[in-house]
Symmetry: C2
Subunit: 137 residues, 2 copies
DNA sequence: CTGTATCCCGCGAGATACTG
DNA sequence: CAGTATCTCGCGGGATACAG
């Protein structure tokens, strides 16, 4: 992730700050739930409850938590319609759309390499099984 | 992430299996440490200790744990040189290299949007500060 | 140097209950 | 429906010690 050598010169302060910010953002974004939420919103604008259904296995808490985080970082936009019952919609912002593109490529990668990975797993798993003393009856 | 409608027909069993495998892989790969390790190995082949230095802030335990996981999934290759003291090198495999490309684009995205994100944060952070009763003095 | 095994604490995260 | 607030528990993950 573009590691730099800091020499101690004055303008390095800015670089160091940007670098730590970048790491922070990376930590925020590089997590399963955040990525899956962005991916889901890529299809279309979604309401809270739709997101909960769309993002398989996410809990109420993790969903709100990640939505707040993504909003804070300006990746999604939250729109509240003053009706009853409340209606809240989440949409990707520009940067959010851009991020979505790279997530798409990550998904592509996953599907393209399913076979290779499954094979690799079988290999190492059976090798490991061979090591440990036979537990089969 | 390419969600499908399952109808219950026989060949759906395979699709469902592939889908759950894809989610599993996604969960493995979409985590901070795994991504940072892959990214580090993109530059060049690295030894264990080099990786520990390269991947800022990772603990001994998390490093080995993720290395095992990545090896099991066939994304990295582990080479042991029978010398003393031991020398072990980790390298990206083909799929690992491919993954690295998409991670690069994620890093690019991060750096391209640093400004936007920082601004968004300032906005929501100051807004939040305005809400809570003034704690100053 | 590389790697496994323990111990143990803190926090991630689910479940639940309650407001608007 | 959307969201916040608690409580609680399990386990993620750091520190440490030890082995090859």
């Amino acid at each position: 992730m573009v590691t730099k050598q800091f020499t101690g010169s004055p303008e390095d302060a800015d670089l160091r700050r940007a670098d730590s910010l970048a790491r922070e953002i990376f930590s925020d974004v590089a997590n399963k739930w955040a990525l899956l939420i962005i991916e889901a919103l890529g299809e279309r604008v979604l309401r809270f409850s739709e997101l909960r259904d769309e993002v398989e296995g996410i809990s109420h808490k993790m969903l709100t938590q990640n939505l707040r985080m993504l909003e804070r970082n300006g990746l999604i936009e939250r729109t509240v319609y003053p009706v009853v019952p409340p209606r809240v919609e989440y949409a990707l912002t520009g940067p959010g759309q851009a991020l979505r593109v790279t997530i798409d490529s990550l998904c592509d990668w996953t599907h393209r390499h399913l076979g290779h990975i499954e094979a690799a797993r079988r290999r190492t798993d059976t090798a490991a099984a061979a090591d440990s003393p036979d537990t089969g009856r």
